[in-house]
């Protein structure tokens, strides 16, 4: 019973983690950017979906779509307003570019967070779920929404896989994540690849955010923890490796669930952090890192 419980709950939460972290990994793989406003983008999507339901009184589907759109738009704004100017700035030394991008995206995340707290208070928000009720899975009473979350996550991951492996633009993106110079030499404009990946990333973060909003709920305080969790998953999986992030998300998700069930919910995140420290120390490239 407990076994099935952990298996099912861990799967749902891990799928969410995976979706949230994959876009993050993709961006790092292609452009070497660690976007520390990640959590803020996700929360923005949740709050948009929530506000659409509460203030505009739209249905859950429209609300969710609006949330995803906000994630998408916020991601592109982040790229054009913050990341691109820093990537192209000639005033910044190459070896310091990284810390500038990290600092700027973090500041940007704080701005989004403060704006949300100002407009909608820092109370937790939950998005009206698209599906309600519970079903029994292997004797475990499971909310339909939890199943829905896992299904949508895997649909999105599957679509991403198809996009990357079955379309020309997607192939170019994948190729760019392996060797950005290589695609330039093949006549692909990297600047366009960047726009494509930030758009994909925005949609993924938006979907992950809205699902999280339906599943657990978020507040403006979730910004930091969400960024940190994506960050640790991506590091664990190996910076820049999308498939590594997928695996790491499940490692972290199940480790957390196991801890929560078997030890105490209060210690939930600690074993995952310990694992992270050990992995960084033993193999800084993470589980599947390339760089």
């Amino acid at each position: 019973m407990l076994f099935w419980q952990i298996l099912i709950d861990g799967f749902a939460i891990s799928s969410l983690y995976a979706l949230g972290a994959m876009g993050f990994a993709l961006i790092f793989g292609v452009s070497g950017v660690l976007n520390l406003s990640h959590g803020a983008l996700m929360v923005a999507a949740v709050v948009a979906a929530w506000a659409a339901g509460n203030d505009l009184h739209v249905g859950p589907y429209v609300g969710a779509a609006l949330g995803v759109f906000v994630g998408f738009a916020a991601s592109l704004i982040t790229y054009f307003l913050i990341v691109r100017p820093l990537q192209q700035s000639r005033k910044i030394r190459e070896e310091e570019r990284e810390i500038f991008i990290l600092t700027a995206t973090l500041l940007w995340g704080i701005m989004i967070q403060e704006l949300i707290a100002y407009l909608y208070t820092n109370n937790a928000k939950t998005v009206a779920p698209i599906v309600e009720g519970v079903v029994s899975l292997a004797g475990v009473r499971t909310p339909s929404n939890e199943i829905f979350t896992a299904v949508v996550c895997w649909l999105a991951i599957g679509l991403l896989w198809l996009l990357v492996n079955r379309t020309r633009a997607g192939k170019a993106v994948l190729a760019a994540s392996m060797n950005p110079r290589g695609v330039t030499l093949l006549g692909v404009e990297l600047s366009q690849v960047y726009i494509v990946i930030w758009a994909i990333y925005g949609v993924l973060a938006g979907i992950a955010g809205v699902l999280l909003g339906m599943f657990l709920g978020v507040s403006s305080y979730s910004v930091g923890p969400l960024t940190a969790s994506a960050f640790s998953i991506v590091v664990l999986g190996g910076l820049g490796s999308v498939s590594g992030a997928l695996i790491a998300a499940y490692v972290v998700g199940y480790l957390e669930t196991l801890t929560a069930y078997l030890i105490s919910p209060a210690y939930r995140t600690i074993p995952a952090l310990l694992l992270l420290v050990i992995v960084i120390y033993v193999s800084p490239r993470g589980l599947l890192g390339r760089r």
Partner: protein
């Protein structure tokens, strides 16, 4: 025997399966200069790093004045009296030249909060010694490249090392600077130091060295005086290849007259202070096969990257009369000037077929399929390897894939940067044949950059020699051996 300041024996270094240095032995006596030469990738820089303790050797001994220091951390080796002059200078930019020299004079102690009063005088003396007196109080960023190199020398000799390692002493220097620099090195030798000079070819160091040791793929191939080494058959084969057969078509047969397909005029490129290209002019006619030969570091890659739009440059690069400046690198590639870079830039995690498809992504699917069939004809091995990940191919197969991928773009001009790097002779043969077929059966122009002359000359219609950022010779391949060959060693 006993007075060998530096005595290296059986030194071996492996990176994974690759043996970078294999049982190297060398000795340098006080007051002597040993030249360690070898083409790119021969392991000579690794030897230097092993001596300095920057890398740990897997086997062998490094004796400095009798003490075996193999495996020591580099600061301890330095304190035992070994100094190194790096090829790339990275002075502290916020400190003056003098302060940079003072740095090297400081004791390695945490408690030293005030410098000894005599440090200043000693630093000034060293500055005077290497010819930096006039600029001692200026900041490195305001200085010429030669001065930056001198700062490196000054730092290296600050601790009065008995063994001095110098990596590519003349890279990026002009003729006059080179001669001033070699005088300085000779003076340091006359102080009674043992000097190890690491460089690409014998010629550049011939004037100063007492002995030369030539390396090739991690092993010693010859040792002796500069003349002996230059006459050595193995060395000649490594650098110049065997007998050369050429089949050049005269330039007049290319009918685009005064506006060649590619016209590079007076192009210069700077990396920081170093002049990587200096007033280079070359041209390639439509359908012509042009080789640019030059040693590693001469500027070939820089030239190709400038053409491909990957670097800012001065001067003018035109394609069919139209300036290329302002077009993005990707646009230049799409328009038909396609580069196979030295590092190959393959998508190692993707299959051979996927790599090729990416090359053909701008083509309609039908064209792309036809092009792949044609390429499988050119490189049959790739057909067998279609489903294999590019990263798992052998070096030669990877090189073929790189060329094939570039050809998928239906280029008008194909730029090949060092395609032979690290490849076995059998593979060279195959690539060579493919290039010849390309030359015979297609209208594609080729611009080939090589240090391997054997490979570069047979197909070439015309040859340029690039040396120290400049074009020093241009002509038909058959004239090369007589006019430029000796200078090439």
């Amino acid at each position: 025997m006993a007075d060998a300041r530096l005595d290296v024996a059986g030194l071996t270094k492996r990176y994974g399966g690759l043996v970078a240095v294999k049982e190297m032995s060398l000795r340098v006596e006080a007051g002597k200069i040993l030249g360690l030469i070898g083409p790119n990738g021969s392991g000579k820089s690794t030897v230097m790093k092993l001596i300095m303790g920057i890398e740990r050797p897997d086997a062998g001994s490094v004796r400095v004045g009798g003490t075996d220091v193999a495996g020591w951390p580099s600061h301890k080796i330095a304190r035992l009296g070994v100094g190194i002059v790096f090829q790339h200078s990275r002075p502290l930019h916020r400190q003056t030249v003098l302060e940079n020299i003072k740095l090297a004079l400081l004791p390695d102690r945490l408690t030293r909060l005030l410098a000894d009063p005599e440090t200043d005088a000693r630093a000034r003396a060293i500055a005077a010694r290497v010819g930096l007196s006039e600029v001692a109080d200026r900041y490195p960023s305001t200085l010429a490249f030669a001065h930056l190199r001198k700062i490196e020398i000054a730092k290296a000799i600050a601790r009065d090392p008995q063994v001095l390692l110098i990596d590519e002493p003349f890279a990026g220097l002009t003729m006059t600077e080179t001669s001033a620099f070699s005088d300085l090195i000779c003076e340091l030798r006359d102080d009674g130091r043992a000097v190890l000079l690491v460089d690409h070819n014998v010629k550049s160091v011939a004037r100063m060295v007492d002995r030369v040791l030539a390396m090739y793929v991690g092993e010693r191939i010859a040792e002796g005086t500069a003349d002996e080494v230059m006459r050595d058959e193995t060395v000649r084969r490594v650098y110049l290849g065997g007998s050369l057969e050429t089949a050049a078509r005269p330039e007049s047969t290319f009918r685009d007259g005064t506006t060649p397909f590619l016209d590079v005029r007076n192009v210069g490129v700077q990396y920081g202070k170093a002049q990587a290209l200096d007033g280079v002019s070359i041209h390639v006619h439509a359908g012509e096969f042009v080789s640019v030969v030059g040693l590693n570091g001469a500027g070939k890659t820089t030239l190709f990257n400038a053409i491909s739009g990957l670097l800012p440059y001065s001067g003018e690069i035109r394609r069919e009369g139209q300036p290329l400046r302002g077009r993005s690198a990707a646009r230049i590639a799409r328009d038909g000037i396609v580069q196979c870079s030295e590092g190959r830039d393959l998508f190692t995690g993707m299959s051979v077929r996927e790599n090729l498809d990416l090359g053909g992504q701008h083509l309609p699917p039908a064209d792309s399929g036809r092009q792949i069939e044609w390429l499988f004809g050119l490189f049959p091995i790739l057909r067998e390897r279609q489903r294999q990940a590019a990263g798992t191919l052998s070096g030669g197969e990877q090189q073929m894939l790189t060329i094939a991928r570039a050809l998928m773009m239906k280029p008008k001009l194909l730029i090949l940067d060092e395609p032979t790097l690290g490849l076995a002779p059998v593979i060279l043969e195959q690539i060579s044949k493919a290039l010849e077929r390309l030359r015979q059966t297609t209208p594609i122009s080729v611009l080939l950059g090589e240090q391997n002359v054997t490979f570069a000359l047979p197909h070439a219609d015309r040859v340029y020699v690039l040396e120290h950022a400049r074009i020093v010779w241009e002509g038909e391949p058959e004239r090369f051996a007589a006019e430029a060959g000796t200078g090439y060693l």
